[in-house]
């Protein structure tokens, strides 16, 4: 983990209540796919907890990271209103990453839901660099929530599914998994707990990795706020430190 001030160089709304922000700093090489940044909101004490936000892209040449967050409360609303050119206090390199370099695979299935989609984009790009064939299933509530469809399509087959059927497939990510029977060596999933639970049940016994969201305190493993029970019945895992990426089946969802 590294603490640094990062400059907001770009900002745009990419879907309903969904903001893409590009941050520039000097130590972005520290960031791996699946890790999160822990961002301080404001400079005073009106927000005492940082916000864990996933990383959607890294540009080594420009020294930038792209983060995507959903505006769901006062903190993320304030973050949305930060002007271009201003600085944010960021903890970089938090949490575990998808083990891109350590895996032998030819075909990867990426399954994302809502605000769990962004880290899969950075992962997809890194997998493509290794020559891995990437297929994505991205679930959203409705058409107005959909983002990064073109970006994912540029990296491989991409299936969009919406809860209300207003765009793409009608249903949830499992609807696509059932219908398409996509071959893969590993699956990688990130999204709401309900989706991760459904995907893990559907793909039980198959090798894969999941990424979990939870409200955090310290973000470095000291406060025990974001824990999840271990599947073996022996203790727990800290989502901010032992995760957010876990091998499928390691924790109780």
């Amino acid at each position: 983990m590294i603490n640094q001030m990062m400059t907001v160089v770009q900002k745009r709304t990419i879907a309903k209540d969904t903001v893409e922000m590009v941050l520039q700093g000097s130590t972005i090489s520290f960031v791996e796919p699946g890790q999160f940044v822990h961002i301080r909101i404001g400079t005073g004490f009106s927000h005492m907890l940082r916000r864990p936000i996933s990383i959607a892209n890294v540009d080594g040449q420009e020294q930038t990271i792209t983060v995507i967050f959903k505006v769901i409360g006062q903190g993320t609303e304030e973050l949305q209103n930060v002007s271009i050119g201003s600085s944010l206090d960021v903890l970089l390199g938090c949490g575990t990453s998808y083990p891109v370099q350590g895996l032998e695979l030819r075909r990867a299935l990426l399954i994302g839901g809502g605000i769990g989609v962004p880290p899969l984009y950075y992962l997809a790009k890194e997998l493509r660099k290794k020559g891995v064939q990437v297929t994505s299933i991205l679930g959203f509530q409705s058409k107005e929530n959909v983002f990064y469809e073109e970006e994912f399509k540029n990296l491989g087959a991409c299936h969009i599914v919406t809860d209300d059927g207003s765009y793409g497939w009608h249903g949830n990510v499992n609807t696509v998994i059932d219908s398409e029977q996509i071959p893969f060596d590993y699956f990688f999933s990130c999204g709401p707990l309900g989706m991760l639970r459904a995907v893990s049940t559907k793909l039980i016994g198959q090798p894969g990795y999941i990424s979990i969201e939870e409200r955090m305190g310290c973000g470095i493993g000291a406060c025990y706020a974001c824990v999840v029970p271990a599947k073996d019945g022996k203790g727990f895992r800290k989502i901010c430190k032992d995760g957010p990426v876990f091998p499928a089946g390691e924790v109780v969802l």
């Binding site: 004490f45 005492m48 310290c218 406060c223 706020a225 824990v227």
Partner: protein, 312 residues
């Protein structure tokens, strides 16, 4: 500038330490800075057996503060002694172990186990955790129960000084303070968190899975300062002050109120480097307000001549 201070026979190189529950067992923060910079370290609460704690979500943000309901999650005193303490023992910084329990017997067991290791330099008796159903705060809100558990634990502490961590969730904190002092406490830690709640409007449900949690952060600082000021007038034992400290100026305020040392809690979450930053800033802040040592400032807020502040 002399930053060292002494509490219950324990010499600290400076008065700043991380508060229990906010710093784990030191390993995480130890990756980012040298823990030898700290005056002491108060480690996460130990119970007799391992505790998983409460359901998540366990934290929620509030105005200038946060609520937590971790529920004393810890691996149990045996695992703490065997797996956690050796790391901290590699530092020169004194370790203060927080002792929790559901019964007097459990408090005594845990305190005895920790005191016997000689790895910890002081104990902090946690009779004020608001997030567990049994034990915890019920001992800290009744002067008789507080006195009894203090007396029983003190018997097994040997040479290890015993600080009792007081709850602010009482109408008269000085009454509890006097009771535990009379029961043999070597010092006080104060304050623990205030019981609070926040409700999520879209779901219309409490934001914490436990419904209620302990409020900490700058929002509670004036309460902590007031309580320390009150208690300082009633007891002579040293006080470790805590509750919303974020800066060296806050540290000085607690010292003036009568604290002999301080603990920093929630601010570690906002800035993981806050403790060394406060320690670095402390000499200049003390000097700015006319002090040449930490000890000079302790209790100065009680002296005549410091009472009147111009409104201009």
């Amino acid at each position: 500038m002399e930053l060292s201070t002494s509490i219950a026979g324990l010499t600290l190189k400076n008065p700043v330490m991380p508060a229990s529950g906010c710093f784990g067992f030191g390993k995480e923060y130890g990756q980012y800075y040298d823990l030898n910079q700290l005056g002491a370290i108060i480690i996460k609460a130990a119970t007799k057996d391992a505790r998983y704690g409460n359901q998540t979500p366990r934290v929620a943000e509030t105005a200038s503060g946060m609520l937590n309901a971790i529920g004393l999650q810890n691996p149990g005193v045996e695992a703490i002694v065997e797996q956690e303490l050796p790391f901290l023992q590699s530092y020169e910084t004194p370790i203060i172990a927080n002792v929790a329990g559901s019964t007097v017997e459990e408090y005594v067991y845990v305190a005895s186990r920790l005191a016997k290791t000689k790895a910890v330099q002081a104990l902090e008796l946690n009779i004020s955790c608001p997030n567990v159903k049994e034990g915890g705060v019920q001992f800290g809100t009744d002067p008789v129960l507080a006195s009894n558990v203090t007396e029983s634990v003190k018997e097994v502490c040997g040479d290890v000084p015993l600080f009792v961590k007081l709850s602010p969730n009482v109408s008269d904190i000085a009454e509890i303070a006097k009771a535990v002092e009379a029961a043999g406490a070597d010092g006080l830690s104060m304050i623990n968190t205030l019981t609070g709640m926040t409700i999520h409007l879209p779901s219309k449900k409490p934001l914490l899975a436990n419904k209620t949690g302990g409020l900490s952060g700058p929002a509670i600082k004036p309460i902590a300062v007031r309580m320390i000021y009150e208690v300082r007038q009633q007891v002579t034992i040293p006080i470790i002050g805590m509750g919303g400290i974020t800066s060296a100026e806050d540290v000085l305020e607690f010292l003036l109120a009568g604290a002999n040392a301080v603990a920093v809690g929630t601010a570690n979450f906002l800035d993981p480097f806050v403790c060394p930053k406060i320690i670095e800033a402390l000499p200049d802040v003390l000097h700015e307000f006319g002090f040449e040592s930490v000890d000079q400032a302790i209790g100065k807020g009680h002296e005549r001549g410091y009472e009147y502040i111009s409104r201009t």
